[in-house]
């Protein structure tokens, strides 16, 4: 039965259904209601986890990683400044090959202070060795948590589940909360091969000299490569069991499209409406929502986008001095390919600026009406 709930509440159901065992928690907007609600669920027994009120985000992830290596399934959540404060432990957790699942409710990085959504916080962590999966709906957020444990415990890399701050974290939608016994059959208890064990003592994360460090990194790289297929496989199995699947990229009307919009997160939901309108007018416009950003699904994207004449990349982020990050990665994916669509770069929705239907229509119009992109990325919504 469907219930109305926010994205953050949907995530707490995903965490509880996944039977997380240790939850170190530290508040930060707009993630906070996740850990507030989990604290209630732990207090009244709906969630059987040990809930630890740590004193910082750095400690939240340090605590989660240590609990994970002791054999527990762990969860934590953060946003923006908190994610940046965790940065050292984000690397550490991936280097330790621990299946930690963490939600980041996307929020702009200060300064100046902002609590509103963009993707610069999580994209700044793209080189740390975590998988990154960006969600569009509250339902997808719940489902992705359950999938994330299966994925991370298979490849032994941590998974970051991304939801747009406020647009998804605080917006209520109908969500189907699956039954515990079905989730249990999809997600077996975590039973790690390697853990801290007094009966079989080993030393984890000791110094690795140059001859061995590269082996650790190379194995992590192989695991990340393996994750490309594992994410798809887990999603297919999830769909078979629950009737919902999302893919590593989520496409709409792409097969015959002349123009494809590429974006991540909730902007895709708005784009869907606009694209339907354009289709009604006979314009061949499609949508490609990038759901899995790490590992980057280059071949899947090239497959889908090669057929279009033009693609319009809507980046809710910016790497100053380089451009929109998704656009840069897509350009890299097309390097050396003979068939390349024209790529138009747009930066929009920075720090909670609305991405409206009108704004997306403007992007489509610009892309339809220009043969080639002129100059660098176009920033939308900057007041004159």
């Amino acid at each position: 039965m469907k219930k109305i709930m926010t994205g953050n509440t949907a995530i707490t159901h995903g965490v509880t259904l996944s039977r997380a065992e240790v939850i170190p928690a530290y508040p930060i907007t707009p993630q906070t209601t996740i850990i507030e609600e989990l604290s209630e669920m732990c207090a009244d027994g709906r969630c059987k986890a040990k809930y630890i009120r740590v004193e910082s985000e750095h400690s939240a992830l340090a605590c989660a990683a240590a609990a994970s290596i002791t054999g527990a399934r762990v969860f934590t959540a953060t946003s923006s400044q908190g994610l940046a404060y965790m940065h050292e432990m984000i690397h550490w957790t991936a280097g330790s090959r621990l299946p930690v699942v963490m939600v980041n409710a996307n929020r702009a990085m200060g300064s100046p202070w902002s609590i509103w959504c963009d993707h610069n916080d999580s994209l700044s962590q793209r080189d740390t060795g975590w998988l990154q999966i960006y969600c569009e709906s509250a339902q997808e957020a719940l489902d992705t948590i359950i999938q994330a444990y299966r994925i991370s415990e298979t490849v032994l890399l941590p998974v970051m589940v991304l939801i747009d701050g406020f647009f998804l974290s605080h917006t209520s939608e109908p969500v189907d909360v699956p039954e515990q016994k079905i989730v249990d059959s999809f997600l077996p208890p975590y039973n790690p091969k390697y853990k801290l064990d007094t009966n079989d003592p080993h030393c984890f994360n000791m110094t690795a000299d140059p001859s061995t460090f590269i082996l650790f990194r190379h194995k992590a790289k192989n695991a990340m490569d393996e994750a490309r297929e594992v994410v798809s496989q887990v999603d297919r199995e999830f769909k078979a069991q629950f009737g919902r699947g999302y893919g590593v990229i989520d496409t709409m009307n792409c097969s015959d499209a002349d123009v494809i919009i590429v974006t991540m997160g909730t902007a895709a939901g708005t784009a869907r409406e606009v694209i339907e309108d354009y289709r009604k007018q006979g314009q061949k416009v499609g949508l490609c929502r990038l759901r899995m950003f790490r590992p980057f699904p280059s071949s899947e994207l090239v497959n889908v986008l090669s057929g279009a004449k033009k693609i319009a990349v809507l980046d809710r982020n910016n790497s100053l001095g380089s451009g929109g990050i998704v656009a840069q990665e897509i350009k890299a994916a097309f390097y050396g390919k003979s068939e390349k669509p024209q790529l138009f770069e747009f930066v929009a929705g920075i720090a909670g600026r609305d991405i409206t239907m009108g704004l997306i229509a403007e992007i489509i119009e610009h892309t339809l009406n220009n043969e080639k992109p002129v100059g660098e990325s176009i920033w939308m919504g900057v007041q004159e």
């Binding site: 065992e21 986890a49 400690s59 605590c63 609990a67 290596i69 801290l196 994360n205 000791m206």
Partner: protein, 297 residues
């Protein structure tokens, strides 16, 4: 005197300590006092470095290295996971140096102490960042030379009073200990093992390289630190009940200072200043001990 032989070893030879280092003396005895059912959380430090290079470790205890600032948080996570598995017997031992405790790690140790996590936190204090080559920490004493407090700019602040900071958390048990008083050290570790909640043990760890003394003097210098009242041996229960474990001998601090090259730049009046500081600190401690013996019910 013959060194005590253990029936079981947890820190084997082949570790990377410098000759005369206090760490192996501390760890062999602490590990032996705690036994097999112990999990260690440690961090960037001399200990973290001497504990082997992959794939060989001299440690025979399950050990997890975390990043520098997070020993208290990592130990909390290990405890939580053990508790979830129904294992309340395994001791979680957090180990850091003074940098990882007094400085960069103070947030996570304070957080873990405030939550009264059931762990033992052992700070071996060699009074500077020795692993990176003798840089000043907030545990470095007044007047000491380090590579970042050179002779023309010696440390002009007193050593941070970590025991008072930990006492202010009102945790079940905190204690100082010394490698020159091994029976006392082992007793404190065994006592900490039996107490539930957060335990903090502060052990001074002489460093021949950083303190500039000949390596055979480590235990003698550790003993002089206690005998001169620079490092009194005491315990505090619940942040309130103070007890002194070793009566002072009131040996002048100069006897301690003159053995160490790091204090070679001090003038006569500086040494008098150190003596005054030590006397004042001792009076403060004595007051707490005397007060706690009758004022609390």
């Amino acid at each position: 005197m013959k060194a005590k032989e253990f029936d079981k070893e947890y820190l084997y030879s082949g570790h990377g300590c410098c000759p005369g280092c206090g760490i192996p003396i501390i760890m062999r005895n602490v590990f032996h006092a705690l036994g097999d059912q112990t999990i260690v959380a440690t961090t960037a430090s001399c200990f973290g470095t001497i504990a082997g290079v992959f794939p060989v470790s001299p440690l025979k205890l399950a050990t997890y290295h975390t990043a520098f600032a997070s020993t208290g948080a990592a130990a909390s996570g290990i405890r939580a996971a053990l508790d979830m598995k129904g294992d309340s017997k395994t001791t979680v031992l957090a180990i850091s140096g003074d940098g990882g405790c007094f400085d960069i790690g103070i947030q996570s140790i304070s957080g873990a102490a405030e939550r009264n996590e059931d762990i033992i936190y052992l700070c071996y204090d060699n009074e500077a960042y020795m692993n990176t080559g003798i840089q000043r920490s907030s545990a470095t004493p007044w007047g000491a030379w380090t590579t970042t407090t050179p002779p023309l700019n010696l440390k002009t602040q007193p050593k941070k009073d970590i025991m008072q900071i930990m006492a202010a958390h009102y945790i079940p048990y905190i204690a100082t200990a010394s490698i020159a008083y091994m029976d006392d050290l082992i007793r404190k570790i065994k006592k900490a093992k039996e107490i539930r909640g957060f335990k903090f043990i502060h052990i001074v760890s002489p460093c021949p390289v950083g303190w500039r003394f000949s390596s055979e003097l480590s235990v003698r210098i550790a003993r002089l630190a206690v005998q001169t009242n620079l490092f009194p041996l005491y315990e505090v229960e619940e942040g309130e009940r103070y007890s002194l474990n070793e009566e002072p001998e009131k040996i002048p601090v100069e006897e301690y200072l003159k053995l160490q090259g790091r204090f070679a730049f001090l003038h006569k009046e500086d040494i008098e200043q150190v003596q005054k500081n030590v006397d004042r600190e001792w009076k403060r401690l004595k007051l707490r001990i005397d007060q706690s013996s009758f004022s609390l019910t």
